[in-house]
Symmetry: C2
Subunit: 348 residues, 2 copies
């Protein structure tokens, strides 16, 4: 089959790799229908996160079950399924608590020896626990497929950020970062009943989308000017609930300074220096909590799926460029150069 591999920074290739097969009785093989490129894939693309040459890449996909191992009970050939960005056994102490990202047998698509989502097919460990079935009729609805694909990462990650930030009905929320995760955090905050949602971002196409997703205010400034603008919008106090969806020193510093005393920062930007933006004495003096991390999106899919199916939540506009599998490298270039917000990959 064809699959995307990474050989060196900025050297992505789509090449022939072995067809995946069921190796363990709990495996399934999924033929990928839609995949996408994540902001966090760019860290690998740019060489800021190390990869073994030839390693697969891509951790967001949905598709059709092609083959199942003898112990897979809930899935059949032909089922339409979405995969969260990590697999998990569904039975360990962490999985039972919903923290599937800490599963003792879990792993990340594209790890050495495993398929990635940006390919034609994927061997899925612990298929019963990992995959979530979708209505088959969705397969013929491009918009709905795109919306459902966000369950594999960005929508669940935005939801995790909103929960970490303590978004409640009536809350004032600020979202640092206008990438796909930040935009999904706006959607999630709206869904959780936030009254006011302040989106921080400089790219008007993206902040327009934030408004469409529920943002009531947009702050285009950065750094101290952004802090001043958010404080002016919040009677000098800051927001109860702040989402940090970038992961840099500056974004974390901004998040800390726009959080209201007693509030919380939900952080889901993969930390790349953000720790240095974290002044613990400010958190201490003002009782600001920090909660977040890698999102256990598998746990959130059953809660979020009905809202996508009935149209209450539609994250599909985060995809603003569609490529087919052979053009994945061009998709990365577009995201790296910020000409695309998030790239959808279609297969067949």
């Amino acid at each position: 089959m064809r699959a995307t591999t990474i050989h060196a920074p900025f050297d992505l290739r789509v090449e022939d790799v072995p067809e995946p097969v069921v190796q363990l009785p709990t495996d399934a093989v999924v033929r990928v229908l839609r995949a996408c490129v994540c902001g966090s894939d760019l860290w690998a693309y740019r060489g800021e996160s190390a990869r073994t040459p030839g390693q697969r890449i891509g951790h967001e996909f949905l598709g059709t079950v092609e083959e199942t191992g003898s112990e897979v009970g809930s899935l059949r050939r032909g089922d339409l399924v979405v995969a969260p960005f990590v697999w998990s056994d569904g039975s360990c102490a962490y999985c039972r608590e919903g923290l599937t990202t800490s599963c003792t047998h879990g792993g990340f698509w594209g790890s050495v020896g495993y398929d990635g989502g940006q390919g034609e097919a994927v061997r899925v460990p612990f298929a019963d626990a990992t995959l979530v079935k979708l209505p088959k009729e969705a397969a013929s609805d491009d918009r709905l497929l795109a919306a459902l694909l966000t369950l594999s990462d960005v929508l669940g990650t935005g939801h995790h950020a909103a929960l970490g930030a303590g978004v409640r009905p009536g809350a004032t929320v600020a979202v640092v970062g206008d990438g796909a995760v930040g935009l999904c955090a706006v959607l999630a905050a709206k869904r959780l009943g936030a009254e006011r949602i302040i989106a921080l971002g400089r790219h008007q196409v993206r902040t327009d989308l934030a408004r469409r997703f529920g943002a009531t205010d947009v702050v285009a400034e950065r750094g101290e000017a952004a802090v001043a603008a958010v404080r002016e919008l919040t009677r000098g106090q800051g927001a109860h609930a702040v989402v940090e969806a970038v992961g840099t020193e500056q974004s974390m510093r901004t998040a800390v300074h726009i959080t209201r005393d007693g509030g919380a920062i939900g952080f889901v930007g993969v930390p790349h220096g953000s720790g240095t933006g974290l002044d613990l004495s400010v958190l201490f003096d003002r009782n600001i909590a920090l909660r977040g991390g890698v999102a256990p999106v598998r746990t959130y899919i059953p809660e979020l799926l009905p809202d996508i199916l009935d149209g209450t939540v539609d994250p599909s506009p985060v995809f603003d460029l569609t490529v087919d599998l052979e053009d994945v490298p061009a998709g990365y270039r577009a995201m790296d150069e910020r000409t695309a917000l998030k790239v959808l990959v279609t297969n067949g």
Copy 2:
């Protein structure tokens, strides 16, 4: 009157200062019956926190109302009262939410221009909101007075740490720090229903007290050995709820590494380098939350007071040295040299 003043690092004096009087109609003057020395006072004593020469010191006290301003409604001369370590107006948005430490008109005892607790009397701003009445008969019970005095800081701070760490019935809790706050966090965790409480500390007198307060296990090791010991006690996973009651780089690093994935660190040690012990990528990968800060103890007093009065909770053993006001400097020396855990100051 006589009061403790700080002139330079290690230069504390007990000297004559003006008698406090009611200056504003919302003030009261309280004659101090018991005060104490806090671990955080040592930062000023050692010169690690700056002070203006001659500034008062001490932020924990209880005593008798001597005079009230015309607008003070709930207190009368002769009432026995305890003061939390900050005053607060009781009416601002933060106070109404219980975050009295962020009160827009709040302040800290011993600030320039204000009395400190380690003196004969204190002018108390916003007396109705700040002070909490105690049963008068407690004034003749030395043990009970000592226990009630902990409501001014250490018991409420330990409670705040336990809440920040997410202590719930059945939880496994670890407490980093065997000072008075750490010991009070053990008491608070026990009170909140923790099933297992691991106290980390090297001083046997203190860890014995931790056991008396409810600790089920003691870890005397430090650093990596402490992490290994806690992990061994918790099937390799760490504790759901971890209290960081020191504030140094090493203590924070230990706290991070003994927290179970998905757990929380309740941090109440005043940060002195603890930010550098905070590896955000570990918090991210393992979904560890960080919550805490300066404790709004005023809010907690009504909840904790009944348990002290009926003997359910008795923090009085944290005081292991009693001095009178003139000997406060000797009390600081004893705490600085760690020959005393916490010093009680008696007046009259």
